[in-house]
């Protein structure tokens, strides 16, 4: 036995590089055929609706894309409704009806009717997050009307691109009083704010606590929520007392700090800037800022006292004060939360344009 160990190799030094490249190209090209998806054999779901039936089953509505270049056909989507216990058994039934494979990877929205939200979304939450075919950025909304009616409304039926329609409609950057909710938000948040829709569009939002519907928020309240969370970019604010309009922008994300011996004091600092764009107002911007501050305080009192739900993520921010999870659990956050003291501080930067300055 020799003491030296050899690891013999058939690797040939002078093997042609070209052969390998051709082999790699063939492997890449041929491997594509093994799991091919023909567009004709696949039904692409772009929207999904969930309603509850009288026997506690669900009515699952699939809005599928109709890819065609025929200009005589105006409809770009077809909907199918199937009563079932789960989304996936309805999907199996739809497969046997259409003889096509159902693909959820292009699903842009999941609409739950209000009755489903009242029963609780916990069941759907888990099944959606555990299934690979649903993208984490799939939008979600609660509908005041039936989800079936919403997905069959004229606005969606007549839209040339339903997926694009949903993306535009629920884009919170476009509208100051629209909140965007994607199913990946279920990953990190306990109490969530989810958009509320009806046939005419977005009506505001609703609060879900542990996946269950507990309250509506008006459009104005939704905007205040967005200002407090920093999801807000720009808006024109008008107040009831006056016809004045405040053009308000966010300078940077708000600071939310939890402090105090009992971890029950919360400081929220909002960094805003803007200008009063009405000419004939006698009021200074400080009046409007104070009005906004009062509105924010009222909103927080409503969510913590009346609803006892933590939509601003205070629970997460107080985690830092606990040594381990047992302590955090023993603290029983929701028992103390209605008594938390919130202090809102608005750092407002008035925009003074040069033109106005010289007019003076």
């Amino acid at each position: 036995m020799g003491s030296t160990c050899y690891s013999a190799s058939p690797y040939k030094e002078r093997e042609s590089c070209m052969k390998k490249i051709i082999l790699i190209i063939f492997v890449i090209l041929l491997s594509g055929c093994s799991n091919q998806k023909d567009i004709d054999n696949t039904a692409y779901v772009v929207g999904l609706g969930v309603d509850v039936l009288k026997n506690d089953d669900f009515l699952i509505t699939f809005l599928t894309a109709l890819p065609t270049d025929n200009k005589e056909i105006n409809t770009k989507s077809v909907s199918y409704s199937i009563p079932s216990k789960t989304i996936y058994s309805a999907s199996n039934n739809l497969t046997s009806i259409l003889n096509k494979k159902i693909d959820f990877s292009h699903c842009r929205i999941i609409v739950f009717s209000q009755s489903v939200a009242e029963k609780g979304l916990s069941f759907f939450k888990k099944t959606l997050l555990n299934e690979k075919s649903f993208r984490p950025d799939t939008l979600s909304a609660v509908s005041q009307i039936n989800a079936y009616d919403y997905l069959n409304s004229d606005a969606i039926k007549e839209s040339s691109n339903p997926a694009g329609y949903f993306e535009l409609m629920f884009n919170s950057k476009n509208s100051p009083d629209t909140v965007t909710f994607t199913i990946k938000d279920f990953y990190t948040k306990k109490d969530v704010v989810i958009p509320l829709i009806d046939s005419s569009g977005i009506k505001g939002s609703v609060i879900l606590k542990d996946g269950k519907f507990i309250s509506y928020l008006s459009k104005r309240q939704t905007m205040v929520y967005k200002i407090l969370t920093g999801d807000f970019n720009h808006s024109y604010l008008s107040f009831d007392e006056d016809l004045s309009v405040l053009s308000l922008s966010r300078d940077k994300k708000p600071d939310i700090t939890v402090w105090g011996k009992n971890k029950d004091k919360v400081n929220i600092t909002l960094y805003l800037s803007g200008e009063v764009i009405t000419d004939n107002t006698s009021k200074d911007y400080t009046t409007f800022v104070n009005l906004l501050k009062t509105e924010c305080e009222n909103f927080i009192t409503f969510t913590k006292k009346d609803l006892n739900c933590d939509i601003l993520g205070i629970y997460d921010k107080s985690r830092i004060y606990f040594a381990d999870e047992k302590q955090l659990k023993d603290f029983d956050f929701y028992r103390h939360f209605p008594n938390y003291n919130f202090k809102i501080n608005i750092i407002y930067r008035p925009i003074i344009t040069s033109g106005r300055k010289f007019d003076l």
Binding site: C5, S7, Y11, N130, K184, F186, D316, E325
Partner: protein
């Protein structure tokens, strides 16, 4: 060919892939349990491994011919078992995330073929393939994870002691078994040009592995609240699924699949090669070529046990009791044993 001398670059990337591959496939359970402090512990363990490695460097600088049988056989057993378990997990994961309609035997066939071909190709082919692919994989991995930074919640790292100080001490120490594959560097010692290259390779591979480990781990902890942690898909896959970049670049899953496949192919080939090399060195065989196929049969047989992952879940706690010893204590055996 044992005559081929690994450069620092090739050697580093080889061991970075061997150590970090587990972060593409699964996150060590205990590191997740202990949250932020687990990461700090990892830093400590990295320094510990570096220290142990430094200590044994002096020993390896002595003129010596071969390993002790105990060391070789233990490395062989550990590497063979790891390869079998990883092969099983690769097959299951690819079946879950990509080739849903294909049979596990077909997917397994691809992995087994690549594994045997890789091991037979020898260290030169393996090292050069690592040097070619692993930098791209590391950079893409870090770049893709950085794409998810906007959706990370740093408060999820707290409370600092995770599930408690006792849990941390009890389970945290065994995190060191993350570096088990690093022990393969002692098997490949003869394939380095000199001790300087050997030392630098060891240091760089530990530091880069630590950076990748911590980045992946912290991103994962900050992405998902604890009540939604689930291990069905690889953690990096879940993080990457959340990444968006504008209207046109929304999906990076396929990039993950390429990274995952290439990394797993290289991992399996290298593991089988090192396993067969350890066996050959332990029993003073002239070549490792003829032990590749028999070892691969053992690996395939073990990996096709249907309940292997359930079995692994049950015994992972027991495994963690001794696996930490592989990179730290095992080289001691070569010193105490009659290694010359």
């Amino acid at each position: 060919m044992s005559g081929y001398k690994l450069s620092k670059f090739e050697g580093t990337l080889l061991f970075v892939n061997l150590i970090c591959n587990k972060f593409l496939l699964f996150t060590p359970e205990y590191l997740r349990q202990v949250n932020l402090t687990g990461s700090v512990l990892m830093l400590g363990f990295s320094f510990l491994i570096l220290g142990v490695f430094w200590y044994f460097l002096n020993y390896f600088s002595l003129p010596r011919k071969n390993f002790s049988k105990t060391f070789g056989v233990l490395i062989f057993i550990v590497y063979t078992f790891f390869t079998a378990f990883y092969l099983n997990q690769y097959i299951e994961t690819v079946k879950t995330i990509s080739l849903v309609d294909s049979s596990v035997y077909f997917i397994g066939g691809i992995f087994i073929t690549v594994m045997i071909a890789g091991a037979l190709s020898g260290i030169k082919a393996l090292a050069r393939s690592h040097a070619l692919f692993i930098p791209f994989i590391c950079i893409s991995l870090l770049a893709l994870i950085s794409g998810s930074f906007s959706s990370l919640n740093p408060y999820l790292l707290f409370p600092v002691f995770g599930k408690g100080g006792g849990n941390l001490l009890k389970n945290g120490f065994f995190l060191i078994s993350v570096f088990t594959e690093f022990s393969g560097i002692f098997i490949l010692k003869d394939n380095f040009k000199d001790l300087k290259d050997f030392r630098k390779t060891g240091f760089y591979s530990i530091i880069i592995s630590f950076i990748i480990c911590i980045t992946v781990q912290l991103s994962y902890i900050m992405s998902f609240a604890e009540n939604f942690n689930f291990e069905k898909y690889p953690p990096v896959f879940q993080i990457i699924r959340q990444v968006e970049s504008g209207q046109y670049f929304q999906r990076f899953d396929s990039l993950f699949l390429i990274m995952f496949s290439v990394s797993s192919f290289l991992y399996l080939g290298s593991q089988l090669f090192i396993s067969s090399l350890a066996f050959s060195k332990a029993f003073r065989l002239t070549t490792n070529r003829y032990s590749v196929l028999p070892i691969s049969f053992i690996i395939i047989s073990v990996s096709y046990i249907n309940s292997l992952q359930f079995f692994m879940t049950d015994i992972s706690k027991i495994l963690n009791l001794f696996l930490w010893a592989v990179p730290v204590i095992l080289p001691l055996l070569t010193r105490k044993g009659k290694a010359v």
